[in-house]
Amino acid sequence: MNSKAIPTLRRLAAGEGRPISSCYGQIESAMIKQLLTHRIIPCLDVKDGRVVKGVHFLNLRDAGDPVEVAKQYEQDGADELVFLDISASHEGRQIMLDVVAKVAECCFMPFTVGGGIRTIDDAAALVKSGAEKVSINTAAVTNPQVIQQTAKRFGRCATVVNIDPKRVQRDGEMVFEVHTHGGRQSTGLEAVQWAQQVVEYGAGEIVLTSMDADGTQDGYDLEMTAAVAAAVDVPVVASGGCGGPEHIRDILVEGDADAALAATIFHYGQYSIGQTKRYLHDHGIPVRLTEA
């Protein structure tokens, strides 16, 4: 465990976290306006060209056409989009390239594409189709060279690594163990150390998905996110477990995430992006408001 992460963990473990509403309180409100805003990022799982959302990565429900969904989110004020290609087939991945090209033609906002990137050629095909950033997950573990090659060719800023940890007991201690292959395979890697390692390889951003929280809508994993965010100097995007705007507030303030990713609450209309950002703004958190 990185030493810098320990104070945050201790503070959380001892229940010494500052009251959430006052976390930004020490900063003048005028200054909040000028801080880099926290990004709110809808994530679209795409299978064979259609948006789906996995609950615990298993039960999939259809939520529409990715291009239409992307346009809607752009209108709603999403700060960025993430597309995760969960197609199992070669054909599915080819369709994804078309989807990416169509999104790039009609959406003037940043978007990241991940899922199934095994080689630098896979990454290059996505960038060529119009993806601004590519997100590497399983291959980051099995073939870390892909991170280095992507960073070298497209820059650190375009190179995102997905980390999917799960809480496991090891020698009587709880550790955040990194999993791959959609959560099915354990790696023996510990999340904080692995995060530092991928940054060394060239990752410019980390998307951290709690396998325990994913699909539950019970809230993000605050402890794990805070530990990783404290250990690296690249932005950390928290993912997994969002059930409402208050969870996003918690992960940005208590979990020290730079950005929050969510799917279900947005896809099924439980909360709009606008509502969510208004709530965060009202709680003193810097966000980009697009509505008057």
Binding site: E74, F108, M109, V127, K128, G130, F154
Partner: protein
């Protein structure tokens, strides 16, 4: 016609589509000689300064861009494309004493974000996300864009002009006050990505098409 230079530094599609979206015409420029026939020029770019400059030289764009600028026609550099307008960058430098040379169309250097205090936490690099811009010059590129408008940044290095007052046209704060956009004679630059900044960025591209 707006020419968008293809010097093999990332994807041009989003820039081209954004220009088309504001009803202007754009074409990809892959040969230096094509610079003769265009009215406006965009130097986009994602990636490292050293690679960018090496590619411009290898493809023969460096000298041609300089003569284009001398002709008085407008040019806009986006992100790395703006950084390349300066004398030098610390990015890819073998040592701080020998920075990588740029196009030297503007005097100044490009340096990395380092060691700044920020908000209630630490400064994350890259500077990635939506940040607000402030300005006090009447830059035609920014017409119709409100003060404190949020635009999309993604970069690890930032430009430090030798003459900030006469060069920078908008500033943004990220631990330190940085040059978010610049305007000097017929040269414009944005550190942020107008093509990724939704309607605010599209407004700027429309402005550039009308300059």
């Amino acid at each position: 016609m707006i020419g968008v230079i293809d010097y093999q530094m990332g994807n041009l599609r989003s820039v081209l589509k954004a220009i088309e979206h504001v009803d202007a015409q754009a074409k990809v420029i892959s040969q230096p000689s094509e610079l003769d026939d265009i009215e406006r020029l965009i130097l986009p770019g994602v990636g490292a300064f050293g690679d960018g400059m090496a590619n411009l030289k290898r493809l023969g764009f460096d000298a041609k861009i300089k003569s284009y600028i001398k002709s008085g026609r407008p040019m806009l550099g986006i992100c790395l494309g703006m950084q390349l307008l300066f004398d030098s960058s610390d990015e890819d430098a073998l040592s701080p004493a020998s920075p990588v040379t740029g196009l030297s169309l503007l005097s100044g250097k490009v340096v990395r974000f380092e060691g700044h205090a920020y908000g209630r936490g630490k400064l994350k690099v890259p500077h990635m996300g939506w940040n607000t811009i402030q300005w006090d010059r009447d830059d035609p590129l920014l017409r119709g864009v409100p003060q404190q408008a949020a635009v999309y940044f993604v970069h690890c290095y930032y430009c430090v002009p030798d003459q900030p007052q006469a060069t920078a046209s908008a500033m943004t704060d990220y631990g330190t006050s940085i040059c978010a956009s610049l305007w000097r004679d017929n040269l414009w630059g944005t550190q942020f990505h107008p093509e990724k900044s939704q309607h605010i960025g599209l407004q700027m591209l429309a402005n550039f098409a009308g300059i």
